[in-house]
């Protein structure tokens, strides 16, 4: 078995070290090594977005990143969205507007939507739909989910 590597990262603004084998994806490391199980596995081949995280400011599928590639990276996961007990406006909107049903895709959508709003604070419905096309949701039919993102963007722009 190849040696485990010692990797140093920053996850949700905290410095985090971990050991991993080269074959372990960032998704596996987050879930099975660090027990940050908010990031979900849906397909494990980059086609559903459930494992979305923000890595050095870039939205990625953590199933398509090796844990060892995260050396020196800054990673944002769903666990870091709320701060000091205060929900992120996206979380608030998803909760209040029923932007979810079963909830398995929700962390991925929240992270993807955050990456969008970070880049484009007032996205149109079409821009939201385009940006979120890499995230599959099988429950909502996307209607309330897209509305939740629109509502969150509006509320953030008002502040």
């Amino acid at each position: 078995m190849s040696k485990r590597s010692h990797i140093t990262t920053t996850i949700n603004n905290e410095s985090v070290d971990f050991l991993c084998e080269p074959r372990q994806s960032l998704l596996e490391v987050l879930r099975d090594v660090l027990y940050l199980t908010g990031t979900k596995e849906g397909c494990n081949d980059g086609n559903c977005g459930a494992c979305s995280v923000i890595m050095d400011g870039v939205l990625v599928d953590s199933c398509c990143v090796l844990g060892v590639e995260a050396e020196g990276s800054k990673i944002e996961t769903v666990e870091g969205l709320s701060s000091k007990g205060e929900l992120h406006p996206l979380q608030k909107a998803f909760l209040e507007q029923t932007g979810m049903q079963c909830g398995i895709c929700t962390p991925g959508f929240l992270i993807a939507a955050k990456a969008l709003i970070d880049k484009n604070p007032r996205p149109s419905e079409q821009e939201i739909r385009h940006w979120l096309a890499g995230n599959l949701c099988r429950c909502t039919g996307y209607d309330k989910l897209v509305r939740s993102v629109m509502t969150a963007a509006e509320s953030m722009a008002e502040v």
């Binding site: 190849s2 590597s5 080269p22 977005g49 398509c64 060892v68 590639e69 890499g134």
Partner: protein, 292 residues
């Protein structure tokens, strides 16, 4: 996934040395959106994975009057978010903004797309019509390979076991030129092309006639196809429905599609014709300064 070693060289020299030693048992890792998935599916089993994202030559994006140079591990997103590329090479934006979803675009690279050599690759027909050159290096020396000669079979390229794709260079667009890439997928995102087509056109000063044209098509043969005859048929021809249809029909006749889970022979042939018409019309619009 099988067990393997990982290293992340920070110089091209080191990477060349590693490839010279490990040859076919090593694979370069750029964005990982193909390689990691293929390893997980047990279709690639390298003993050594060499991360190509810390090698300066492979991560560089340069644009100047002579043209564009894209390091092999530069991400699609870096390419399509570059304003100069959007201005001068919009067809590259067409291609790179279609690879996977936003998440995949943040990692996937043009180098990876080229080396993965999928018949349906979104960037290869565009690189072909733009006259792109793949610059390759090994400890035996360097070589330049026109992109239209790069792929030889599904998943196979002309690269030798020890060679590294460093970058792809694209000449500066000529005056009165325009290019366009389109693909057809059943959904609106997140699919592999059923068929695709790219066109590059140069018009004369009047803007009414083709001076030259290049056409390439994908997902309709074992490799992306550069259809020289289809472009050549437009040389000196007026821009008309008839000349464009003629070129599209030549492109269609060059296609050798198969029936598979993504499409049928008949549909693919029709798509090649339709998409080639559409990319030619759009390329003409871009050549005369219209937005597409």
């Amino acid at each position: 996934m099988h067990d393997f070693e990982y290293c992340a060289p920070d110089s091209l020299k080191e990477a060349i040395g590693l490839m010279a030693t490990h040859k076919s048992s090593a694979r370069l890792l750029a964005g990982g959106t193909d390689l990691i998935v293929l390893m997980r599916a047990r279709r690639k089993r390298p003993e050594l994975v060499i991360d190509a994202k810390h090698i300066p030559e492979l991560t560089e994006l340069k644009i100047n009057q002579e043209g564009l140079s894209i390091g092999a591990s530069v991400s699609c997103r870096t390419i399509y978010e570059n304003d100069q590329i959007a201005e001068s090479y919009p067809a590259l934006v067409d291609s790179t903004s279609l690879v996977g979803g936003i998440q995949v675009q943040g990692r996937a690279s043009i180098g990876g797309n080229l080396c993965n050599a999928a018949p349906s690759a979104d960037s290869i027909p565009t690189l072909m019509v733009l006259g792109a050159i793949a610059n390759v290096v090994s400890d035996r020396g360097e070589r330049q390979i026109p992109v239209e000669e790069f792929c030889v079979a599904p998943g196979q390229t002309v690269l030798e076991d020890d060679e590294i794709l460093v970058n792809v260079t694209v000449p500066a667009p000529a005056a009165n030129s325009g290019a366009r890439f389109l693909r057809f997928i059943p959904r609106n995102e997140m699919d592999i092309a059923v068929a695709n087509s790219a066109a590059y056109v140069e018009l004369d000063e009047t803007g009414k006639n083709f001076r030259s044209a290049r056409i390439a098509i994908g997902a309709v043969a074992p490799t992306p196809l550069f259809v020289e005859d289809a472009g050549a048929a437009l040389t000196g021809k007026p821009i008309s429905e008839e000349s464009i249809l003629n070129a599209a029909v030549i492109a269609r006749d060059a296609a050798r599609p198969i029936n598979d889970m993504r499409g049928t022979v008949e549909h693919r042939l029709q798509l090649v014709e339709t998409l080639t018409k559409r990319v030619l019309n759009d390329a003409v619009k871009r050549a005369i300064g219209e937005k597409v």
